[in-house]
Symmetry: C2
Subunit: 215 residues, 2 copies
DNA sequence: TTCGAACCGTACCGTACGGTACGCCTCTCT
DNA sequence: AGAGAGGCGTACCGTACGGTACGGTTCGAA
């Protein structure tokens, strides 16, 4: 369908959103075994309507992912008065949001679907998830890092490197293991340790890039 | 087919390995659009033979992934005489192997296939990839970390935490972006920076857990 | 009240693909 | 040389699913 990434200006009617919700539910339940018939039945609509609204199966999938991925909200951080305490709080907030998002069933499903899609030259969904996942975080985090650097709170060669290190310190091997269905890593299992992990990640990041560290 | 993870004692005849090679090639080329007919044609064998040897499509897929994943070799590290220099070299070697593996097309394909599979309750492939990927690294890395701790070269609360931090520092967001088909992150693009990234990761890890750091 | 658009439910079509059956060839063992 | 096993190629079957067509219903506008 659409190759370009749709901006959110494209709004769906409540009925259409109900359909998308049904599609997402089925996606979460049945994995990628999403059939048009199943969506139609679940949403109590006709297949003809699905095709009229979304073009084809890929269109429906894209709309679902797009609509859902855009819901992920990043924390807004006040960068006007930055001190070390505020910076640490921001970092922890980012880490917390990132972790809670990543371990959610919806996120796992969306990522799996997009990856499956990316395995067939269609990088449509992959780009949407990327744009609303890692890249969105990068967009939001970088200005803060740079502001902190200007305030002499952080030191790093490039904000890109700092962002990627932060991502790694927070996510570690959690996402890939969840995507692969590691049974030794349940959602609740990770959830219980979020606060500790968040704190550890922030500590480590500050230890590496804090101005005090490499002075 | 088999739910348990097959140990490598199960050996394939050369002819069978040729079939598996064909299957892997098709997997890399066509994504998950792997059809039995395609494999049979590519390998110049009959479908009946495929079913005889591998049971069904899942069996073939499992055999392919299993066979290929087991090929990933981790570096062997001499842990008898560990000094800081040797430790750093080991860490860098691990990081290098991990990165080069992860960005390879075969690894990407295998992970994508396993993730797609995991989206349908069949965590068979996921476990295999997991076992030969992250968990294998963990098994190999942990003893070294612990040896280094015993030699007073490292300090960490738990080797599990240290391993996960190492993984995060090395992999960062590279794997997920490649899996999602990020076009701004080509293989050669990453490859060029491997050495610098490896060094950075080792530096950061030692900065965080080196005995000198938190003395 | 009537018209028409939107939409539901269902039936239908074509195709792709997993899985099976079968005829023929080749190679090995006796 | 004869027999049987293993394996190739192809034809075939059943089904699941994407996509389309169509009759019936609701609802809002004129």
């Amino acid at each position: 369908m659409a190759l370009a990434i749709k901006v959110n200006e494209e709004t769906f009617t409540p009925r259409q959103q109900a359909v998308l919700t049904a599609a997402l539910d089925l996606l979460v339940e049945n994995g990628d075994g999403l059939t048009m018939t199943a969506v139609a039945r679940r949403a109590s609509c006709s297949k003809e309507t699905l095709y009229k609204w979304f073009g084809d199966r890929d269109g429906l999938l894209t709309a679902t992912v797009q609509w859902q991925a855009a819901k992920v909200r990043m924390p807004f951080v006040d960068r006007s008065h930055l001190n070390l305490k505020a910076l640490r709080a921001s970092l922890e907030q980012f880490a917390r949001d990132l972790l809670t998002t990543i371990i959610g069933e919806v996120s796992i499903t969306l990522n799996r679907t997009a990856i499956t899609h990316a395995a067939q030259e269609k990088d449509d969904l992959g780009n949407i998830v990327l744009e609303n996942g890692p890249l969105a975080i990068r967009r939001r985090l970088k200005p803060i890092l740079e502001a902190a650097r200007d305030a002499r709170l952080l030191r790093f060669p490039s904000s890109e490197e700092a962002y990627r290190t932060f991502f790694g310190l927070v996510v570690r091997d959690v996402q890939i293991r969840l995507l692969l269905g590691d049974k030794g890593l349940t959602q609740s299992n990770v959830e219980a340790n979020i606060e500790a992990d968040v704190k550890t990640a922030a500590d480590q990041f500050l230890a590496l890039y804090g101005a005090k560290a490499n002075s």
